[in-house]
């Protein structure tokens, strides 16, 4: 399913809302693009939170960030530095959950979201099956990279 302009705007707003609700600076978005699954690798970074989507739509949403993004968010939310992965993993999971939850206000209550699964590290390849085209929304936050990846049928 090709996402409409209003779908993409809703995803941008859902992501911005996550940061502003924490009192953190807004992210800066790059130009969204459709991934060519045959020639381009999915741009996963160090920590990725994945939400499976079912109900009115089927597919998945991933927020993937460089480590300093998650470390800084832990500092903002908890007021102390992350000591290990055990502090970072819940943060990326919560981020994926909140952004997906925010997106429900646009996609509707039939947009069912699973609990987050977290992927640490970068696999050789990654893809959503049957959910093409896959849209990538690049962003930077405090100078560090992150990507929102979404594929829906």
């Amino acid at each position: 399913m090709r996402l409409s302009d209003s779908d993409i705007t809703a995803l941008l707003n859902s992501t911005t809302q996550y940061f502003t609700a924490l009192g953190a600076p807004k992210p800066e978005f790059g130009v969204p693009y459709n991934l060519d699954n045959k020639s381009q690798k999915h741009p996963l970074l160090a920590y990725s939170g994945h939400i499976g989507i079912s109900g009115s739509h089927r597919g998945g949403l991933v927020i993937t960030c460089e480590k300093p993004v998650i470390e800084d968010l832990v500092q903002v939310v908890l007021g102390s530095a992350a000591e290990s992965d055990e502090d970072l993993i819940p943060m990326i999971a919560e981020m994926a959950n909140t952004i997906s939850g925010n997106a429900r206000t646009h996609f509707g209550s039939g947009f069912d979201i699973s609990v987050p699964s977290v992927v640490v590290g970068e696999p050789e390849e990654f893809k959503f099956v049957l959910a093409e085209p896959t849209l990538v929304i690049p962003m930077t936050w405090k100078g560090h990279a992150a990507n929102l990846i979404i594929g829906l049928t």
Partner: protein
């Protein structure tokens, strides 16, 4: 998960391999996963929502997937793309089979597929996470389930 719910996944996995390949899989004793990495060459993940929430993934060695693919497609030539698709299909079918027991509100996402097992790579599911060891034709694979 209750014991009878774990049994749903055991039965679904056994019937998948028996029906699709004609050769039964044997399942080992389920155990609760610790923090260790449990990934083989290819992994297919399904997110679950609705009346239960969480996810599952199945992880298999490449040769096992090539063998399953050969049996299904009736060909000796198996390429990487077919193998990539096969792990998603297995995850999707096992999760879909579970719907017959968990009900139609047991909503499953499309599969997400991961290739590779770099040292720092892991899929973190809802805890407690149950591991079901699968043995099919001597190949070792794992079904890993973490749902509320």
């Amino acid at each position: 998960m209750k014991q009878e719910e774990i049994q749903v996944f055991i039965n679904g996995t056994i019937s998948y391999f028996a029906e699709v390949t004609g050769e039964k899989a044997e399942l080992g004793i389920p155990y609760t996963k610790g923090p260790e990495q449990l990934l083989l060459d290819y992994s297919g993940h399904i997110g679950i929502s609705g009346n239960r929430r969480g996810g599952l993934y199945i992880t298999c060695p490449r040769e096992m997937l090539a063998d399953v693919t050969r049996k299904i497609l009736l060909t000796d030539e198996v390429d990487d793309q077919s193998i990539f698709d096969m792990i998603g299909e297995i995850a999707n079918t096992i999760a879909g089979n579970a719907r017959t027991s968990f009900g139609s509100d047991f909503n499953i996402s499309v599969p997400t597929i991961f290739k590779g097992k770099p040292a720092n790579f892991r899929i973190v599911l809802r805890t407690p996470v149950v591991v079901l060891p699968i043995n099919w034709k001597g190949y070792q694979a794992y079904l890993v389930v973490g749902i509320d």
